[in-house]
Point group: C2
């Protein structure tokens, strides 16, 4: 019995001093996260927040995983165009499909968002949500980021995985709030992030329930119901959660309103933006990037409101889980 | 120490034999619920379901609380027309507002759903979600059902409150899935049903995020984003939960697809419909009712698929919590 108590005691003391964010360099950013979590979980602290109100909303592309050279979901859609091409002979002469099928090496930089909308509408509709989930999961099981040569699902940020684990251990309820398609994120959020389907908020396509011979299906339609980006993020948080977050992580102009909404919470709150300033280990991009635009006005608003800027270069000791093995 | 063990043991045995559904008469319906819950929570049962998949979806109007003579939210909207009338002199000559302001005693039966849509659009928009929540909560604090002369929030079904407590005690995750407005239900779901805002799925109105001088608000717009009724219930369950329910309760044609969707779950599942057949203690209505239509085709589908019909008259010992005091 005494032995058990000793073991428990040492494990307790060990946890007390264990670094919950080992892939973060010491500094103001890391400290702001730990101080915040300690304050809102301490009942005797004036900033204490009850567990059911510990809502964390985290953007996905560029905040949890790599979004360059193009959003992963778009690369999936492009691959799907190639797969579906044999049954669409007209695509050979029809832009933007012809561009994809031509095998152009500069393809990714040539496609506009308007092209992508057209591609998404064609490749993401006409199948059931369940079928789509299976297609996406199957693709994700082998598809690799062209630069890192790791599976897309491995190109996630180790420091952010640690943040999610730390928040979960402190009874935060984590929601992914992404401009990406909800169905695409749900295809991997559980194995990769331990985020369950009901906690994935993304852009919603319209769907249609059909029931043929007692086999109901939810079919995906080629039109958008709600774009979960910019003002849409605050609106979706209201629909899906109905509470304001107390902590929010983003990385681009699309996250501005989510952070403003979090800041308007009357309880204690913390807002953070991942800044991609590390061209060597990942990417450096900002106001001029088509993907993950971080405008000067966002930076100005962040500074004015004391939102924390996470410098990938300075704050993160390692970027990817597969980097851990190298140390 | 021995004393404590005895107390714990007796409390354990007490719980083991305590009736989790004391307001239900013994019979097949009650037995089907208890058998189902015992099976899916028993790890050695082939029908065991892990806690995160124990999704329960429950309709609101007519399943959890009274929906006659008209949905409570509509009565709220009608009262709001009266409140707002002084600043809308044109309403006196404009149908359906003129009908409301005329003080007609047969008003509730005269209003069509088309009228109600118009009334909802005017009374439920142009304010923020937060302001709406406060208005609804304030109204609900005093508004009474004209027949029962109890607050609307007291006209809830005691047997269903017991079902919710029983499911919660067995680690089910309860969602309200209602054709009513999400914001209206959220105004009372927590105090009345212990259902938190993120677990309330209702009809969604479009909203618009606005941020004036660092005071962000989500404004309600007079158009519908998603009608959470009929096929919309299955679609909304997919958006909000992303898993199929294993148990679903409804009471009308609007719940048909939710029950079909539940039935298509590959794990064990149970579907139930409250049948209003008790004109003495509540109401008796069915295929011909404008509110809460329970059509013959729904009854036929229920019987064919072994959905349980909850007879209010035969299965429920008491209807309302305030009836408990009378025994």
């Amino acid at each position: 019995m005494r032995k058990i108590i000793f073991v428990l005691l040492f494990s307790f003391i060990g946890n007390l001093f264990a670094d919950p964010l080992p892939s973060w360099n010491e500094g103001n950013t890391k400290k702001s996260i730990i101080d915040f979590v300690q304050a809102v979980t301490n009942k005797s602290n004036p900033n204490y927040v009850t567990p059911e109100n510990r809502i964390a909303t985290i953007d996905n592309d560029g905040t949890l995983w790599v979004e360059q050279p193009l959003y992963t979901q778009f690369i999936f859609a492009i691959d799907r165009v190639k797969t579906l091409a044999p049954s669409h002979p007209d695509w050979k002469k029809q832009s933007p499909f012809s561009l994809i099928l031509s095998g152009d090496k500069q393809l990714l930089s040539k496609l506009s968002f308007k092209d992508m909308e057209q591609i998404l509408a064609v490749t993401h509709a006409g199948i059931s949500v369940e079928q789509y989930h299976d297609l996406a999961a199957k693709w994700l099981a082998t598809a690799k980021n062209p630069r890192f040569q790791h599976l897309f699902t491995e190109d996630v940020y180790q420091p952010m995985l640690e943040v999610m684990n730390y928040l979960r251990a402190n009874q935060f309820i984590i929601y992914i709030v992404s401009g990406g398609g909800q169905d695409f994120i749900r295809a991997y959020a559980e194995p990769v992030y331990h985020v369950q389907p009901e906690n994935v908020i993304g852009t919603l396509e319209k769907t249609k329930y059909v029931n043929q011979q007692n086999h109901p299906m939810i079919m995906k339609l080629p039109t958008v119901l709600l774009i979960d980006d910019k003002t849409g993020k605050a609106e979706a948080i209201n629909y899906f959660i109905g509470r304001k977050p107390i902590i929010a992580f983003g990385n681009s102009d699309g996250d501005r309103e989510m952070l403003e909404w979090t800041q308007s919470n009357k309880t204690s709150h913390l807002m953070l933006l991942v800044h991609h300033d590390d061209a060597v280990r990942e990417y450096a991009y900002g106001p001029k990037s088509k993907v993950g635009t971080f405008s000067d006005s966002l930076m100005a608003e962040a500074i004015k409101n004391n939102w924390k800027i996470i410098s990938m270069k300075k704050d993160w000791k390692v970027i990817f889980p597969f980097d851990l093995n190298k140390n």
